[in-house]
Every structure is written in C-alpha cells, then in structure tokens.
Symmetry: C2
Subunit: 204 residues, 2 copies
C-alpha cells in the first residue's frame, strides 16, 4: 500500500506504533482526522503531548495523578491502613469500578518476571515496604494476575515484610460468575474446591 503523500505516510506510521493498530486501521483514523477542522486536530495533538509532559505519579502509591499525591491517597474517607497491591494503573481503575474497595492502592509497575528481565528492583516494592513500616498498615490485599509471576511477587513481598504485623490477603480466585463448570480449567477448579467457603460466608 503506497500512500500519495509523505505527510500522510508519516501520520499513518505514527498511528501504527500504537498497540493493536495496523496500517489499514491507521489510515482510516488519519483520513478521519483529515476531515475534521484544523483546530480540532491541533487540540488532539496538544492534549496528548500535554498529557505526556504534565502527568504526575502519586509519590505515595505511584498511581497516575494530577498532583504530587493522588485523589485516592488524599481522600480522608478511605481507609489508609488497607493497601491493595496491583500491577498497573489499569488494575486500579478496574478495582475502583467495582466500588467494593475503600482502602488505598500501591501500583507495583509490573510483576517479578525473570524471563522478561523484570526483577524486584524495577518495581516499587521498596517504597511499599517503607509505607507499611511508617504508616502502620494493617492489611495488604494482593490483586495480581493469577499466574506464576503473580505468585512469585506475592511470595517475595510477603518475605520482605514478614517481620511486620501486617495481614496479607489475596483476592479470591475461583470459577467466575456466569462461568460454566465444564469449561473451567483444571487448575482453577481444583483450587476453588480446595478453597471452598461455608455457604453463609459466601452469601454474605
């Protein structure tokens, strides 16, 4: 596919750098922008550049923030003694959407994965341990992906804070709502049998 203009070619090339966007989709997006008024497209470019240049990360929980401390950390209605540990910002948004968690967060920035070259030093584990020590945190709720890397990360952090009086929990794993038993993988089914709950507790 050869494009009739180098300006168009460059714009398409920029869009194809984004995840999940191929050359055809990029062209569709660029031709759409071409139909918009100039000032709309300028606003598009400026908003994105400004976002990248001005966005801050909360110094306490490493979540995205407009200021030095994010709105969740600054909210006195939230339980500051309970920390939900997540891999990235998207997970914060996912948990927040449930409206079921009223504590604060800690964004690790990844999970320990030696194969991908991610060790504990690349993550915000040091800062998490500091928080638990200084702020007398009562509970750490791990909401990490249920795989070996997630489990390794939980194990590593648990070891690091074993001398502190902080309860460590993880979000429940089992058969998803609306899921069919027969299609569940063995590992999930086996774990959900081993971790079965009394019905009263489940209903609550």
């Amino acid at each position: 596919m050869q494009l009739p203009s180098s300006l168009l070619e460059n714009a398409v090339a920029q869009f194809t750098k984004l995840p999940g966007i191929g050359k055809k989709t990029a062209l569709r997006l660029v031709l759409h922008l071409l139909k918009q008024p100039n000032n709309e497209v300028e606003l598009f470019g400026e908003t994105i550049t400004r976002m990248r240049n001005e966005i801050k990360f909360c110094q306490r929980c490493h979540n995205i923030s407009d200021g030095d401390i994010c709105s969740i950390c600054a909210n006195s209605m939230r339980n500051q003694q309970v920390i939900c540990v997540v891999e990235n910002i998207r997970d914060v948004i996912a948990v927040e959407t449930t409206q079921q968690f009223h504590g604060t967060y800690h964004v690790l920035g990844g999970i320990i994965s030696p194969l991908d070259g991610v060790g504990p030093d690349q993550l915000t584990i040091e800062s998490l341990v500091n928080r638990i020590e200084k702020e007398a945190v009562e509970e750490l709720v791990f909401a990490l992906s249920p795989n070996i890397q997630g489990d390794t990360t939980i194990y590593y952090i648990q070891k690091k804070i074993s001398h502190l009086a902080c309860r460590v929990t993880t979000i429940a794993r089992g058969i998803a709502f609306g899921g069919e038993l027969e299609y569940a993988d063995e590992m999930t089914l086996a774990r959900s049998i081993a971790n079965r709950l009394p019905v009263q507790q489940y209903v609550k």
Copy 2:
C-alpha cells in the same frame, strides 16, 4: 469508569472521538503513550497536527498531495486521457495497490445521496466535466460502490458529458474470486449472468 487524572481523562476523550475506538481501547492507547519517552509522544502530536495543517489536495484530481499537483497527475508515464472516477482517497489507494490501472484519477469526495444531504454540488463533478472538456479525455472508468447511490452518480455524470466524445465504462461487477455461487446474493448473480463474458475474453 472514573479516571484518576483529568489530563488522562482528556487524552482518552480525544481518542474516543476516532471511529471504532471505545473508552477501553482509548485508555489502552493512552497508557501505551504514557510509557513512551516524552519526545516520542511530542513527535506523535506534531506529526498529526502538521499533516492536518500542511496537507494539500491535487488541484486537478483532488487526491491527497504534497504539492499543488499530485504525483500521479504529474507522472508523464501515466495515460492522462483515461480517468478513473472514485469516491474517496481510500479508493485511489485500493486501485493503485492492484497495479492494473495506468491512467489518472478523479476523487469525487462522495457520491450523490439525497438522503444524506449530498447533492452534485458538494462533489467535484464540475471540475471533472471541465477536465474532460479541456483535456480531450478518451475514457472515464467509474470505480464506485455498486449500490443505488453509485449508479445515480454514474447516471448523473454520464448525462452531463453526453455531448462530449468520451467513452464511459465501469469496473466489472460479478461473483468475487474465491466466492461461492450459493452464497452470492440474487442481484449480483442475476447481473453476472446478464453480463456474461465470452471465455476467451475472460481468460485474457
């Protein structure tokens, strides 16, 4: 889905304006950009703004162009007496990709569609008729969508140039290569029977 930062919220809002991009996809794209170096994201914004501000349209065929006349019109190797009439720039790219057409193009900018409020005056028909008159064009090849709007547009333009000695053709319509006869719609099958070709001509 509530986002933790207004800068992030604005960037996501800009991406959701693009066709086929919802809020979740937009967030994924924005978080990807957030991981890129600042200058990369600045380049992204600048490239798109620059494309919108500086791109030109060929004064002759209305295709996208870096200069006043596009590279196809300026190419003396192309047959300037044969014009392929298409709806938009994407169609030029599609026909060019086949490498089967060696004439020039004329981009209408749409097709006549009274229901959508598109009349002949909004299209570049006037300029096409001028071209045919002044440049002694020998053949007009219509490559428009095979629907009522496309047929109306062909009929309208044909009427407009009926006094000129210019052959008018349209790209072949029929069963697509690899298509199954039993799944073809009646209209296409009926037309492809009516417009059947001698086998020698087909093989050629």
